[in-house]
């Protein structure tokens, strides 16, 4: 089995470990450890330990989060996009609480999460994926790579004063970025008179820019080829809804999830949040792009290695 087989391709049944005999004492131990968690999380944990089937784990993990999250934020865990919730920014937990959560997860799943692995996990989805891979005996999913503003400035075809990304993170499944509206942006002088508001069109532009970066920094689209920085253009957008006015001082959290990426089109679903508030939703953002030859000689590394190696695209 190659190191890079995605967990989704593995037959569930083959991954299910034969469980050891599950004693009443163990069950009591789990109930004690999880006693402040919701009942369905506790039952799922017991089922997991009885059967060894990782399908129970998402409910266990959500249950453990529910126990630690302040009551007024708990309803967010029940929403459809709870996997995208960031532990610190969205759920208000600190790194020490994250450690408590990890200790409980380790105890229930009988796994170990090392400190450097822990540092890479920022959303509930990250943790679910990580634990899923770990209990199936698979290597952990590739982690997001963080790009700071210096790297973005060096490699983005778009430059200030029209660059709306301060920092970006790219993984195989999504790209996120942040942008702080400084108040010094040139367009705020006129938009609006005496009332600076980031234009909605530029919020979409920012999402488009993150798409550009995803294509430049992301997984190889075709063997021996990379996306040419000068070939990427905005093509279309659909299903755009603006929920919140964004003003100087707001920190925008941009997120794109690729739906289809096949030359010459890349289709994403995008969102912008400020703290925990929705600002913009775009059901589809489409960019066109062209491929150019990768710098020769083109090696054939595993996707994980490719991500870490960050080959400079030909510009």
């Amino acid at each position: 089995m190659s190191d890079s087989v995605p967990s989704a391709l593995v037959d569930d049944k083959s991954a299910v470990k034969t469980p050891a005999v599950f004693s009443a004492e163990e069950e009591a131990g789990i109930r004690e450890s999880l006693r402040r968690c919701p009942a369905k999380g506790v039952e799922a944990a017991i089922e997991f330990r009885k059967t060894g089937d990782p399908k129970h784990l998402p409910v266990v993990i959500l249950g453990i989060f529910e126990r630690f999250v302040e009551p007024d934020l708990r309803p967010r865990l029940a929403t459809a996009d709870s996997d995208d919730l960031r532990v610190i920014e969205d759920l208000g937990l600190d790194s020490l609480t994250m450690m408590e959560i990890v200790m409980l997860v380790e105890e229930i799943t009988k796994t170990q999460i090392a400190n450097d692995e822990l540092r890479q996990l920022s959303t509930i989805g990250d943790i679910k994926n990580f634990v899923d891979c770990r209990t199936r005996g698979l290597p952990p999913p590739p982690v997001a790579i963080v790009y700071d503003s210096a790297v973005l400035l060096e490699r983005m075809p778009i430059q200030p004063p029209f660059l709306f990304l301060d920092e970006a993170r790219v993984s195989a499944t999504k790209a996120t970025a942040s942008y702080r509206i400084t108040g010094q942006e040139f367009f705020l002088q006129g938009h609006f008179k005496g009332n600076p508001v980031m234009p909605a069109s530029l919020m979409l532009e920012a999402l488009g820019q993150l798409g550009v970066w995803y294509l430049l920094a992301g997984l190889p689209v075709e063997e021996g080829k990379v996306v040419g920085a000068g070939t990427i253009f905005f093509a279309s957008t659909d299903g755009v809804r603006c929920h919140r006015v964004c003003k100087p001082g707001d920190v925008l959290t941009l997120q794109l999830k690729p739906k289809r990426v096949k030359a010459p089109l890349a289709v994403f679903e995008g969102s912008i949040r400020v703290g925990q508030e929705k600002a913009v939703i775009a059901e589809e953002i489409t960019l066109t792009f062209g491929l150019v030859d990768a710098p020769a000689p083109a090696p054939k590394p595993a996707p994980e290695a490719e991500l870490q190696a960050e080959p400079a695209p030909q510009v």
């Binding site: 600190d94 020490l96 609480t97 450690m99 408590e100 200790m103 380790e106 105890e107 170990q112």
Partner: protein, 421 residues
């Protein structure tokens, strides 16, 4: 040198969780001692402690603790606390409110915090047991160290109150919180800080108190009404207590600027060590006498100026006699006049909490104009002869007050207070 005033006090004690209740109990000599259920076993010879009321902190998980209104602590704060830090937080919040301080008055470069506690033995035991037995090294709660070691109180409070000035802790056993007050006085007097928050706290539970039984230091008297009786001929050891007491000290400039009425002026302090024994006070009270003399000298006073001494006297046979000798030496011809009492008859002995608790009692007595009596004396120990040990509360201003504290290793600290004028 700036003058230093006490502008706020807060109490979580066996005789009350607010200044009003504490004042009433001090005036009426109502004690806070009770038969303690966890000491019920036949092989435990000690039966009485002075428990903190309204809190329940015996459960291993802090989220199961009962914390009375109006106090509310978030889980993320509570998880790094033992009972001592919880009591300290509540007491200090009370003192801050009492001094009418805003969050900005507390969190700035000119405000510091000193704390005193011996740590939380029960929290330490639980986390070590968990490491050794239940879960292994990686299953210690992440904040178990913060919640248990001796600095726990200041770690929590300095972070929680966003203290920006001086901070630290004092660990001289039963002299700890008097040391904290003394050095806090210095910070203000020397112009380093304008305001200091000082808090003493102890768990006051089985693991904090019972180890003193092996030392034969605890009273085995089973009657809560007489178990703590400093200066009484039949005293047989101290009664343990816990809780937290907070004080706000401020410079004269700050008092004037804010326009608050202080409880009392903290005039100065002195300290000296016995150089004698790790756990037994010097038989003639040499170190304590030296501490009292230094305290008086530092404020330019003599025994003639004193009105009241709040004695350290814990109700142990040896310690109380040592202190009486020290008092006779220092008070000299004024011994028969200066009122002496030990409020530990009412509260038991608060260990690291004692100095702060009794200084706050003195501050209350000065503001309200009374001198708390030394309760539970049926027959005065002849070794106390020549001293004016007052058995009942006197409705008179105490004037200039000395507050004594002595700790393990022979550490002695003496604080001097007087009415604010």
């Amino acid at each position: 040198m700036s003058r230093v005033f006490i502008t706020g006090v807060g109490f979580i004690t066996s005789i009350g969780n607010d200044a009003g209740a504490v004042e009433t109990n001090l005036r009426e000599l109502r004690h806070g001692l009770a038969t303690y259920a966890p000491f019920a076993a036949d092989n435990i010879p000690v039966k009485v402690i002075a428990p903190v009321r309204g809190f329940e902190t015996d459960a291993p998980d802090q989220e199961d603790w009962v914390i009375p209104a109006p106090y509310k602590l978030k889980r993320e704060l509570l998880r790094g606390m033992g009972p001592n830090a919880l009591y300290a937080t509540c007491a200090l919040e009370q003192a801050i409110a009492d001094a009418k301080l805003s969050p900005a008055d507390v969190s700035n470069d000119d405000t510091g915090l000193y704390a005193a506690s011996a740590g939380s033995p029960v929290m330490l035991t639980r986390s070590i047991n968990r490491m050794r037995e239940a879960g292994g090294v990686m299953r210690c709660p992440p904040l178990s160290v913060v919640a248990s070691i001796a600095g726990s109180v200041q770690f929590n409070l300095v972070a929680h109150l966003k203290i920006k000035g001086a901070s630290g802790g004092f660990v001289s056993a039963c002299a700890s919180s008097s040391h904290a007050l003394g050095f806090a006085f210095d910070e203000i007097a020397l112009g380093r800080q304008k305001r200091m928050l000082v808090v003493g706290a102890e768990d006051g539970n089985v693991d904090a108190i019972l180890p003193f039984a092996g030392m034969r230091a605890l009273s085995t008297n089973t009657d809560p009404n007489t178990a703590s009786r400093p200066f009484d001929k039949k005293r047989d050891g101290f009664v343990g207590t816990g809780g937290g007491v907070g004080l706000v000290l401020e410079s004269e400039e700050e008092v004037m600027r804010r326009g608050v009425t202080p409880y009392a002026e903290l005039l100065g302090w002195g300290q000296a060590s016995d150089g004698h024994n790790v756990a037994i006070s010097h038989p003639d009270g040499l170190g304590l006498a030296a501490a009292m003399r230094r305290a008086l000298k530092s404020v330019g006073m003599t025994a003639a100026d004193l009105g009241y001494v709040n004695a350290h006297a814990t109700s142990t046979p040896i310690g109380d006699v040592s202190e009486c000798k020290a008092l006779r030496t220092v008070l000299g011809e004024h011994a028969a006049r200066v009122a002496v009492s030990s409020t530990k008859a009412l509260t038991g002995h608060g260990l690291s909490l004692a100095g702060a608790m009794e200084t706050a009692f003195c501050a209350l007595a000065i503001r309200k104009g009374f001198i708390p009596g030394s309760a539970h004396i049926t027959e005065l120990d002849p070794a106390c002869e020549g001293l004016n040990i007052i058995r009942t509360t006197q409705a008179a201003s105490p004037g200039v007050v000395l507050n004594n504290s002595s700790g393990f290793g022979g550490a002695n600290v003496c604080l001097v207070l007087r009415p604010a004028v």
